[in-house]
């Protein structure tokens, strides 16, 4: 599904992502863990196309996508969420969702003026889809509220819903569990599993090992820009190098 081959990113003199390679198989949930500053989010930004790698290649379903900007990558089915959620705060939650729908005729000026029927029809379909997703995520009650009213955890859910509107085949989730209360965290985990069951691949950055163990079949561990280890969650927890650099002594 997704392949990163020897990707390197330098910011000035600092090598933030150092010759990283990885594979995410279709239909899986793969984790990415590592200490703060390990380069995880930078790696996500490289995969999503927000920044360009210094060297190395990124493939999505076998196609090299290095040269494509981020707005093209979602058209290919690669969605991402942000570590700190970035809702469009002054827009309603429903409008946040609708913005994410792909290939809308109404995004073209002339279609808006000269094909109003078609635009309205698509809009109704998108609204139904958005409302169904909001229902699924437990946000439907808030659909007409501006996104700024949401709590931190609800913002994570909205980001997930927004990216789902684009029908991605793979989603990069940046710390879905950070700063989320335990009840809501359970909801998020259940929803991710449910979406995955419907055929969407996930690649997840997360610090919460409990969440990683519940979700992921495979885990990559990054440290100081390098790929340190990869294996099943159990293998990761037992690996001495990972315990030393990340989990810390005292974690069994």
């Amino acid at each position: 599904m997704l392949e990163v081959r020897s990707v390197l990113k330098r910011f000035g003199g600092a090598t933030v992502v150092d010759n990283v390679s990885l594979r995410v198989a279709a239909g899986g949930i793969v984790g990415l863990i590592g200490p703060n500053g390990a380069g995880k989010t930078t790696l996500f930004n490289l995969i999503a196309g927000s920044i360009a790698p210094t060297s190395g290649k990124i493939f999505l379903e076998g196609v090299e996508i290095n040269a494509e900007r981020s707005h093209r990558r979602i058209e290919r089915g690669l969605g991402r969420t942000f570590q700190i959620p970035r809702p469009f705060s002054e827009m309603t939650i429903l409008d946040n969702m609708l913005t994410a729908a792909q290939a809308q005729s109404g995004e073209r000026m002339f279609a808006t003026w000269f094909m109003p029927g078609r635009v309205a029809r698509e809009e109704r379909i998108n609204i139904d889809k958005a409302m169904a997703l909001l229902e699924f995520l437990g946000l439907v009650r808030l659909a007409q509220e501006p996104a700024r009213v949401l709590s931190g955890g609800q913002r994570k859910l909205l980001e997930l819903g927004r990216v789902l509107m684009a029908d991605p085949r793979i989603i990069l989730l940046d710390e879905p569990g950070a700063g989320v209360n335990p009840t809501l965290l359970n909801t998020i985990i259940e929803r991710i599993i449910e979406i995955n069951r419907r055929g969407v691949t996930f690649f997840i950055i997360e610090h919460n090992m409990d969440l990683v163990a519940r979700l992921c079949q495979q885990v990559y561990v990054m440290s100081a820009g390098r790929m340190l280890f990869n294996g099943t969650p159990d293998e990761v927890i037992d690996e001495p190098a990972v315990i030393e650099t990340y989990l810390g002594a005292g974690t069994q």
């Binding site: 707005h71 093209r72 429903l94 808006t112």
Partner: protein
């Protein structure tokens, strides 16, 4: 007496609404997209001169005078202003807000200077006269003439307003807002910010050029000093006072500010002795400035602020 008042009222509203259309154009750029265009005067001038050149009768010492119908002039005005904006936009839209402001300001001054000096095309400081006025057959009856023009301008304003409302409350406007709020997030959802920004810039400028042409034809005469930065300032004041991000606010602001402008102009004419009139005219700008400052204190979002809900379709249900 009452007839005179109605005539003047109609005349006043035609001018105010023509500013209102310029204001609608600026609202697409600033209110919806956050493009800091301080070159409004330039795009209005391009529209006015384009239409004037195309529709005036042939003149010996000047280029053109193509004697075409008025409506061709108006449509061409929008087209040429939009084209100029596309050209300028491709070069400058990567610039961040304040740099874009400086650039557009410079461009507007350049356009004004070109208009002033390209005498063989624009008539230079003498301007272009004999621009055909709509309903010129009615000119002997000021009341009818002004009312006919008012209904025409009302119809056009309504049309532009409706077309822009459709856009702004549809998916296109939604993308613009999303880009304005968080460009990286919008890009991650597949929206090409550069393309949408350019579209808004071109559309807004085309509307400004169109309005410039309407003004030119209503007055019948244009000259370079009509297109100094003062008009840019007026239009900005109109948008901010009326409510940036709201088309109804843009129109309301245009009417109010133009009323303030006309009333202070008339009052100064009555109060100030003749020899100081020219200098006292500067006070009109001061009054608008005071109005602007007052609104920013009392209602920072303008008289009619932006509406949060965008999706009309759902609300209509």
């Amino acid at each position: 007496m009452i007839l005179d008042l109605i005539t003047y009222g109609a005349f006043f509203l035609v001018t105010a609404l023509s500013y209102g259309i310029i204001c609608l154009g600026l609202n697409v750029q600033w209110g919806q997209t956050g493009l800091f265009n301080v070159g409004v005067a330039g795009f209005v001038a391009i529209g006015a001169y384009t239409s004037a050149l195309l529709t005036t009768p042939d003149v010996v010492e000047r280029f053109g005078g193509f004697d075409l119908p008025i409506w061709i002039g108006w449509i061409s005005a929008a087209f040429v202003s939009g084209l100029a904006a596309a050209f300028i936009g491709v070069i400058t839209l990567r610039l961040r807000a304040d740099y874009l402001a400086i650039t557009t300001f410079g461009i507007a001054i350049t356009i004004q200077l070109v208009v002033l000096n390209a005498i063989t095309i624009t008539g230079g400081p003498f301007g272009i006269g004999f621009i055909p006025r709509p309903f010129s057959g009615l000119q002997e009856h000021p009341l009818l003439f002004n009312l006919a023009n008012l209904s025409l301008v009302c119809g056009i304003t309504g049309g532009v307003y409706y077309a822009l409302e459709r856009l702004i409350h549809g998916p296109w406007g939604r993308v613009l807002r999303a880009i304005r709020e968080d460009e990286a997030a919008a890009a991650s959802l597949g929206k090409n910010a550069k393309v949408f920004r350019l579209q808004a810039f071109v559309l807004g400028s085309a509307v400004m050029g169109f309005a410039g042409a309407i003004q030119a034809h209503f007055i019948g005469f244009i000259a370079p000093e009509n297109y100094l930065s003062a008009i840019t300032f007026q239009v900005w004041a109109m948008l901010i006072i009326g409510g940036s991000g709201n088309n109804r606010g843009a129109l309301l602001g245009a009417i109010l500010v133009w009323a303030l402008w006309s009333i202070t102009g008339a009052a100064l004419g009555l109060i100030v002795p003749a020899e100081y009139q020219a200098r006292a005219a500067a006070l009109q700008i001061v009054f608008i400035g005071i109005g602007l400052a007052a609104i920013l204190v009392v209602r920072p979002r303008g008289l009619l602020g932006e509406v949060t809900k965008v999706s009309r379709v759902l609300i209509d249900r």
